[in-house]
């Protein structure tokens, strides 16, 4: 049975004619950037759930994904080591949507746990401070962090590496193809 022809009747044609329309390029552009943000959020969520382990162990996929997988496993190992000492943190501060610093000067944020985050112009960051973990996502650019010492770890996740600390001051820079960590 031809399902389409069978049911493409007069009212369907009216609806098609009145509602059928190509998406204007500027609208499609906006939709695509929403989808890109959404993909980042989904990837972060998966990252946090450690669901990339299977991909890492199979050693398939592109370098970026493998690097993310390595970061997730490294972070998970640190978490496992710390598991006995974890305490619930005081503040929850969730900013899941990535934020881009377009201002020409460094922007300073005081996070809910008391850590200080300085973000350089042109950087793209997001953070999520939950009860059990403190995560900063650095997609590109440079941040300086003065992490409030706590038993729950603070992770900086970049496309190529994950840094886990409990409390210290350090700088992370992500430039195309690399991630660099330095301690002042």
């Amino acid at each position: 049975m031809n399902e389409r022809n069978d049911h493409m009747d007069d009212i369907d044609r009216v609806l098609h004619e009145e509602m059928n329309s190509e998406i204007p390029p500027e609208v499609e552009g906006r939709f695509r950037s929403r989808l890109a943000e959404f993909q980042e959020r989904m990837d972060e969520r998966e990252l946090a759930r450690g669901s990339r382990w299977a991909g890492l162990l199979s050693l398939r996929g592109n370098g970026f994904r493998r690097a993310i997988g390595v970061g997730a496993v490294a972070a998970a190992v640190v978490l496992a080591i710390l598991a006995g000492q974890l305490r619930l943190g005081p503040g929850r501060d969730v900013r899941t949507a990535p934020m881009e610093i377009t201002d020409p000067e460094v922007k300073t944020f005081r996070l809910a746990d008391g850590s200080v985050l300085k973000v350089h112009p042109g950087s793209r960051v997001a953070w999520s401070l939950g009860e059990e973990s403190r995560d900063l996502y650095l997609y590109r650019g440079e941040v300086f962090l003065d992490v409030k010492a706590e038993n729950r770890e603070f992770r900086v996740l970049t496309p190529s590496a994950t840094v886990s600390v409990l409390g210290t001051r350090f700088q992370v820079r992500v430039s195309p193809g690399e991630g660099e960590v330095s301690q002042p």
């Binding site: 399902e3 389409r4 049911h7 009747d9 007069d10 009212i11 369907d12 044609r13 009216v14 609806l15 098609h16 009145e18 509602m19 059928n20 329309s21 998406i23 204007p24 500027e26 609208v27 499609e28 906006r30 939709f31 695509r32 929403r34 989808l35 959404f38 993909q39 959020r41 989904m42 990837d43 969520r45 998966e46 990339r52 299977a54 991909g55 199979s58 398939r60 996929g61 592109n62 994904r65 493998r66 997988g69």
Partner: protein, 179 residues
């Protein structure tokens, strides 16, 4: 499989359908952007449920339709509030492009009102069928019913829309092919 992410599995294959369905229903750049964000927010909220669903992509497309319809509904309510001003401006504008645009918008508004008059399942079913070209199997899974019931929803929606939109039907087809 290996490294396929949730996004690769659930969203990427239907990106075009998601964008197209929101645009075709909303047809206004600002509102369409709002509707698309709303759809993504709803998908995000129900992600765990979507993953476990027998047909996650059909469910996502249904969520897109619902977000688009909600946005159009809100827009229509907003327009009703400023109707008097709008009518005065429209009457003063006699250019052919303005009247053509208005006619198209008015027709779509009537279609939407007629769709709003359907039951929720009938409305979703007919939109998934006509706007998204979804097979009955997928419509049934998105609605959580049998394929026979999904066909019933679509056919009943057609009958009711034919009645309420008879003035929009091409005269040659009126009265023909009535089931």
């Amino acid at each position: 499989m290996g490294c396929e992410s949730d996004y690769d599995t659930l969203i990427r294959p239907i990106e075009e359908q998601m964008m197209r369905s929101v645009w075709r229903i909303v047809r206004n750049p600002e509102d369409a952007d709002d509707a698309f964000q709303e759809a993504l927010a709803n998908i995000w909220k129900r992600l765990d449920r979507i993953r476990k669903h027998p047909n996650p992509r059909a469910l996502i497309l249904r969520i897109c339709i619902n977000a688009a319809c909600d946005t159009v509904r809100k827009g229509m309510r907003r327009k009703e509030h400023v109707a008097a001003d709008t009518i005065a401006e429209t009457v003063a504008d006699n250019s052919p492009s303005a009247s053509e645009r208005l006619t198209g918008e008015e027709k779509r508004r009537e279609i939407f009102r007629a769709i709003e008059g359907l039951s929720k399942n009938q409305a979703d079913a007919i939109l998934m069928r006509v706007i998204q070209d979804q097979p009955y199997k997928d419509i049934a899974e998105a609605l959580g019913c049998s394929e026979v019931t999904a066909r019933g929803h679509v056919n009943r929606a057609r009958v009711r829309l034919r009645e309420s939109l008879s003035h929009l039907m091409p005269s040659s087809s009126q009265g023909a092919d009535r089931k």
